[in-house]
Amino acid sequence: MSTPLSPERYWRLNRWLIAVGLLLGFVVTFGLGWFARELDFIFLGWGFNFWLAAQGALLVYLLIVTGYAWIMNRLDDRQLDAPGRPPA
């Protein structure tokens, strides 16, 4: 946990995380949204398509945002606490 990444690898990892987050959001919103009419089955007592747009997608968004913040903040700590690197 203590060795910091090189700036290039730090940025590459960040971009990768961003791409995963965006893709997840895109699939949930537009991918499943496109097929909303077909996704007409009961899920935990709810019509799945309605639940997805009213609650499910919001939960995924929260997951994306908190997950990204959690991972990146830990990564930043590691980069900045490393020896031989002045705090920016």
Binding site: L17, N49, L58, L62, A69, M72, N73, L80
Partner: protein, 694 residues
Amino acid sequence: MKQAGAGEPGYGRQLNRVYRAYVACFVVFILSLSWLESLGLSREAIGLIFLLSTVALYAGIGIISRTTDPVEYYVAGRRIPALYNGMATAADWMSAASFIGLAGTLYLQGYNGLAFVLGWTGGYCLVSLLLAPYLRRFGGFTIPDFLGERYGGHWPRMMGVLASVLCSFTYVVAQLYGVGLIASRLTGLAFELGVFLGLGGMLICSFLGGMRAITWTQVAQYLVMLVAFLLPVAWLSVKQTGSPLPQLVYGQQLERVSERERELARDPREREVMSLYRHRADLLRSKLENPSLALAQDRALAQLWLDDLRQLPATPEDIATAERALYQLPRDEAGARRLWSRELEEAESKMLPLGGMPPHAQPYAGDPTGSAAQQLDFQSSRLNFLALVFCLMVGTASLPHVLARYYTVPSVKAARNSVAWTLFFIALVYFTAPALAVLVKHEILYQLVGTRIDQLPAWVSAWSRVDAGLIHFKDINADGLLQFNELSLGSDVIMLASAEIAGLPFVISGLVAAGALAAALSTADGLLLTMANALSHDLYFKMVDPSASTARRVTLTKVVLLMMALIAAYIAALKPADILFLVSAAFSLAASAFFPALVLGIFWKRATGPAAAAGMLAGLGLTVYYVATTQPWLRSLFGLDGPVQLWWGIEPISAGVFGVPLGFAVILLVSWLTPPPPPEAQALVERLRSPGQA
């Protein structure tokens, strides 16, 4: 999630204490008002107490937080903890329209209204992943500031100022309009007086304390909004399902709503009402073919009827009714055309099952397996839904007053956490709005429909007295019972009347209105400051007089703020109802102006200044052009006639689906054609991408 990096743990604890005390005082205030109501305090008095005390509270916070230091004034000293900035951003971002109108839109449009829920929350993914941490790392004062520093030269900054003012101004007028409407409905005060009262409280706050005062006021306003939104819905849910958590249980109510909708579609009385409205629509259509002739005939007929009655031994009531009928006819052809067109529109929706509303749980209109027309309807409805979600998402991630809030946190890490808190606080309300829509629909379908007209609950007549546009009904088949198609609801009434529908005392309705007022004022505060900062910091200080002293800059901002506020209030007092459309277009405008330039500025080093300016101009230009040529009111303003040319059937509200890609394309293309950006710009991008405390 901890409140990262504030560096001042005592500060956070002190804030927690202050806001806990505030919530306690607020609860005591509500309880004492409801006690006074039980002693016989009138609706108007309760409304007035709510209006004056909350506005005074916000103004008071402004006076306590007054400042002349530019860092405090522009970005609240950059020491707002992530959690509190999340609350402030949620209040900043939730406008009067989204507080009052969202539940109503969901009621009227069912699944299709969820585009707003998706777009307005999903946008925060873009803010978190693509913008907020980097803007905080940059650490400027405004959004045009970032464009100016990253791209160099005057043009990108100029475009940023122009787009900030364009988006924010229409938006602020709509907020003030909302303030006037809420104040006049709540208290019976004149609309204009309401506008200026709200403006007064807001100005004291933002004028004296800038971003610092606005932040603490917005936190206070968020708490009011949250309580005002959740309380009536929870109560209604207990009444209907026995559970105080409507978000978890409204699925079963939705099933029952769908069941009742199918039942009503077959109901003979509903069919009777529908066929009566179909006749009416035919009649109105034939009248509209020659309005002047039809009006002359109507007038002659009414006169004849009155003369006949006078000959007969008729009762004075009958004669008075006939006189009123004659008197109420439109005065001229234009008036008749307006009235009949409006009536025709209503009749044409009332001749359809469920008053033209789609079944609540059904995604998209039309039928993918039906006739060609139905298939086309389905395709277009789905495309517009997804296009609207896209525009609202990208627009949320581009509104300058929201993005500027992330300058106020202490560190990049706090910026990331703060976006998560913002989304959490917004989602609290947005999980609940669809629940409210379903619960109210359940109440109306099962309780109201089929009730005898003379036994309708008190809230129906109370709110139709306030404004007939909110709720009105007409027993068109004269059976003494209310049919679903005989009832017309305006979208605002769902939220405004929620407390009384749930059977709560009027004091909670007052609280709901106070929440709506808080939503309007908090958004207007943020918008005014954004415009004032863009004009004074970016236009004056950065471009006209870079040697201006800090005191002079802050003073200038205050003067600009005052001017902007007065102009906006003046326009709002003229009641320009059509401007409300422009608010929904503001998301498309902001998206196409800012999003490509901001994102490429961070993620593509090769993006150049001329390209950014050209891309912003092209994106904004295309969006403005599309809206102006397709939106009915703007078309009449520019004197356009002839058939509307929609591109791929996209509605004007989603014009951003064209503007955003064009903005990206132009920036890419022009960047390749122009020399690479100077080393300073590249160094800035390197700095943005590196981890850092600030």
